[in-house]
Structures are given as C-alpha cells and as structure tokens.
Symmetry: C2
Subunit: 203 residues, 2 copies
C-alpha cells in the first residue's frame, strides 16, 4: 500500500490527497510537521534529500518526491492524464507554470500570513508577492474563460495542481472577487466525485 | 517544421537547443530579446500569455511553453525519456526540483550578475541566492556520487534540464571547485553525440 508523508495544511500535499480520493487509491497518510522541522530529520531526508513534503513511498526503498511528479505517477493510465502527446505536455506546462509562476507568490504569501502570522520582518516580502500572484491568477482567469477546466471539458492533473493553492489564495491576501471564471471553476471542481476539502487545522 | 522562440543566452532556451541537437530535429530558431521586453509584445503573448521564453511552435495555433514541458514533448518515444512509469516520474521529479529549488537561485543570481552587471540595489537579493544555490548543488552532487547521470548510466531530459544552468553556475558566483561529481558529470555530458555549447554572447 502507498504511504504518503505530508501535512494536510500544505497545498502541495493536498494535491496528493485529491488524486488519491478521485482515483480511490488505498493509501496510508503519515503526518509530517513542517513547523517543527521534521522534514530535516535524517529519517526523512533518507526519503527526500531535498527535505520537503509530500513524499510518496511506493515500496521499500522506492520513493518519489515533488508533488507534481507524484500526480503524474498516480494519474498514469487514468482519465486525469491525457494520453495524447500534445495534451499531456500542456498538462505539464500548467504544472510547471504552477511551480514557477504561481506557488512562489500565492503559497508563500499564504504561508507568511497564515502560518507565521505576518511578522513585521517579513511584511516586505509578503507585499512583494502580491503582483506576481495576481499575474498568475489573471492568466488562469483568461484560460478559464475559454474552457471549463484547464484542458477542456474534463478535469486533469493540471486542475488538481492549480486548485490546491488557488482556492485558498485569499488566505494569502489575494482577493478573488474579480476572477469570475476562477470562481466558476471552483464550483465545477468541487463536483468531481471523490472531492475532499483541504484540512484547515491540523488535529 | 518546429519553430523555437528563444534566446540562446538563457539556460531554459539552451535546454531546447540541446534536445533538438541530440535528436537531430529540424527546427527554425527565432531570436527573442528579453532585455528589450520583446516577450511582452502582443504577438508574443498570443503564443505564451505568461510572456516567457522558450516557446515551441508545433504548427499554426499549436504552441507549447515551459522549457521542461517542451523537453518532455520532444523526448517522447526517444532514449532521453524512460518509458517505465517510475523512472519517467523520477525524471519529472528532477525537473520540478530544477524549477523550484535550483533555477530561482542559480539562474537568478547569474542573471543579476551577468546580464545586469550586479547593480548595487540588487546586491542583497544576489547574496540571498547563494545559500539556496549551494543547497541545490549539494543535492545534485550526492546523486551524481551514486550514478553517472541522474537516472543511471544514460542521459535523460533530467540531465539536459539540470545541465543548462549548472554548467554556468560560476557566472552566478557559485564556485564548483568542491563539487567533484558535478564536474565529472559535465565531462560525461559534453560527450553526448550532438552536444552543442551554449552561446555566450548574442550576435
């Protein structure tokens, strides 16, 4: 059985929870606390030397890290990953967009605000994230004007990847009021069978 | 015939040049000047609304952006992309690592130093990139202690992706003297048939 090492407050981990639920994949979830630096322990770095969650344990000694690589692995041969060469590459395009042009702004602003409580010494960094975050949201809005999901009528791992931090962007100070198509996409996304909410507080 | 819109001084574009050469794919290279904001012109944003190079034009109206998505597209069904599900995901893992944990430090420091001439007002940012850059290099060094290339004995798109900015890391102020396995990997990489150097100055 798959083991997932993660924290359900993290959008990157939530991506894995979503695909596991959409595909009804049996798995064990092992909570890792990033605020107490559990990812820096030797036992964790043995699984992922980059000391980040989530990590997928496939079996003894066989690990995979980077949330979007895990999404591609789990979605192979399912309806969440197109088989057409171009379509599959467009799904990847959005995932790389998410990691480079979206997550570093939207997830980081949320982390500073929600996890750290917006301390004075990180206020400048927090504010500097707003422009890039809105740029990413505008680009998503444009695409979602043209299609129901990112690749057309059906959800794929591109949607799972982008939903994770976008739907909690307001926790990073990004108002979504003007992004009508993103809101419409949220309402379509939650209808996917197996949808599960993101945990809002660790228990 | 494929068209590539890019700048050969950019590591992200160099990745595409390398795979095109390794696979002997005929293509036309169209130079885009990032320093004069050519990527922000309407004609460019029509191809990539995110206003970044490189862009691959497959045919009329069919574009692909994000360098690593393009690598996956071009490498499909070739020796540069494993077919095994796990191996293929590990190649992706390294590519997401590159975009999130490597490029923002190593390429950005290089950009500030080499392209912008290390102006006073960006010195703090430049210095702040050093720690993360060395962290990424150390992690690569550990992997290259264990295997000739990132996924074993043969080069894949994981190597192409990571080679692009690593081999010019010293231009971003990162000394590679201590990274013996990275240097050994460089010397193996340049032996790949079709290897071409990165342009060092635009003509």
């Amino acid at each position: 059985m798959y083991k997932v090492y993660g924290d359900m407050l993290s959008g990157n981990c939530y991506k894995i929870k979503l695909i596991m639920n959409f595909l009804e994949i049996e798995h064990e979830w092992i909570h890792i606390d990033i605020l107490t630096s559990e990812t820096h322990m030797d036992s964790f770095r043995m699984m992922n030397p980059n000391a980040r969650i989530p990590v997928l344990k496939i079996n003894e000694g066989k690990y995979l890290w980077e949330s979007n690589a895990i999404l591609n692995y789990l979605a192979q041969d399912t309806i969440y990953l197109p088989t057409d060469r171009y379509e599959k590459s467009i799904a990847l395009q959005w995932q790389f967009f998410e990691q480079y042009s979206h997550e570093p702004y939207i997830a980081t602003a949320r982390y500073i605000k929600k996890y750290l409580g917006l301390p004075k010494n990180r206020e400048g960094e927090y504010l500097s994230k707003q422009e890039g975050g809105h740029k990413a949201l505008s680009l998503m809005e444009e695409q979602l004007k043209k299609s129901k999901f990112f690749l057309g009528d059906k959800p794929t791992i591109a949607d799972i990847c982008l939903y994770a931090y976008t739907h909690v962007a307001e926790e990073g100070g990004f108002s979504l009021a003007e992004y009508r198509n993103i809101q419409r996409w949220f309402s379509d996304f939650v209808l996917i069978p197996g949808y599960v909410k993101m945990d809002r507080e660790n228990v």
